[in-house]
């Protein structure tokens, strides 16, 4: 999950989604707008290890990201 942050530039967030997740320009742009407008967006889902690795990568890019267990999985 990536949270909105006034510092992160739209261009940069879109770039990160394209280059790290390999999303298309359109998908990256749509997710970026979702973060911007809704305050957060679930940009990836999966197993705990993979999600923690992605979160770590987002932190390296400086995006405000977190990963949480799916409430349904407990």
């Amino acid at each position: 999950m990536v949270f909105n942050d006034p510092v992160n530039l739209m261009s940069y967030v879109s770039f990160v989604f394209q280059s790290y997740f390999g999303y298309s320009e359109d998908k990256a742009h749509a997710l970026m707008l979702e973060v911007h407008e809704n305050g957060r967006s679930v940009v990836a889902t999966g197993g705990r290890e993979a999600m923690e690795r992605d979160t770590q990568a987002m932190h390296e890019y400086g995006l405000w990201a977190a990963c949480q267990p799916d409430p349904g999985s407990d």
Binding site: P6, V7, L9, S11, Q18, E60, G62, A66, C67
Partner: protein, 192 residues
């Protein structure tokens, strides 16, 4: 006025003298912030701290909100899990961020015309983003409303806050230009 242009696979950044020296100062500060060791054992640099490198010792959650913004919790709703994640990953994250800053400082040391490879541009974008995160925390910009407020009442800012905001805007411009330069390149490739 600074300029950023693509040249073949590289990106060329031209800075004024004052822009370059200011960037050297603030990136040196960022480097120092990242090398502060939160461990009790303050005499030993992170690079020699094998227990930390291997994730064998707990790492305290940063007290400084700017440092916490660079090294956030993995799950703000789960303190225990965040502490464990920090123990296992914070060392590497800090190293990666410090590495980016070193690449920026190396570039700045070359003069006012700086040619950057693709990988160096990436390091600059990340380093600039981290620096802007720190400046935003120092300026109290934590929401979009707070940001608008700063700009709307600019005349009420102290001289140092006003300078910081000017610097922040400049760094924003540089980061955005570098990003759009790389983006237009990948989009150009897709069109071919």
């Amino acid at each position: 006025m600074a300029a950023i242009d693509a040249r073949g696979d590289d990106v060329v950044l031209r800075l004024e003298d004052n822009e370059r020296s200011l960037m050297l100062t603030v990136f040196t500060d960022l480097s120092a912030l990242l090398s502060e060791d939160g461990d009790e054992d303050g005499d030993r640099p992170d690079s020699e701290n094998w227990e930390a490198r291997l994730g064998l010792v707990d790492r305290p959650r940063p007290d400084d909100p700017a440092l916490l913004r660079l090294l956030p919790d993995v799950d703000p709703e789960d303190e225990e899990r965040s502490a464990e994640f920090r123990r296992l990953t914070e060392f590497d994250l800090k190293q990666a961020k410090s590495h980016n800053v070193r690449i920026v400082l190396l570039g700045l040391s070359k003069g006012t015309e700086i040619t950057l490879t693709h990988d160096e541009v990436l390091a600059w974008m990340k380093g600039l983003n981290d620096l802007r995160l720190v400046l935003a925390v120092r300026l109290g910009i934590d929401t979009e409303e707070a940001q608008e407020e700063k700009y709307a009442h600019r005349e009420e800012l102290s001289e140092s806050e006003d300078l910081t905001l000017t610097l922040y805007d400049f760094l924003t411009w540089v980061q955005d230009r570098l990003t759009t330069t790389l983006l237009s390149r990948t989009q150009g490739e897709d069109d071919e």
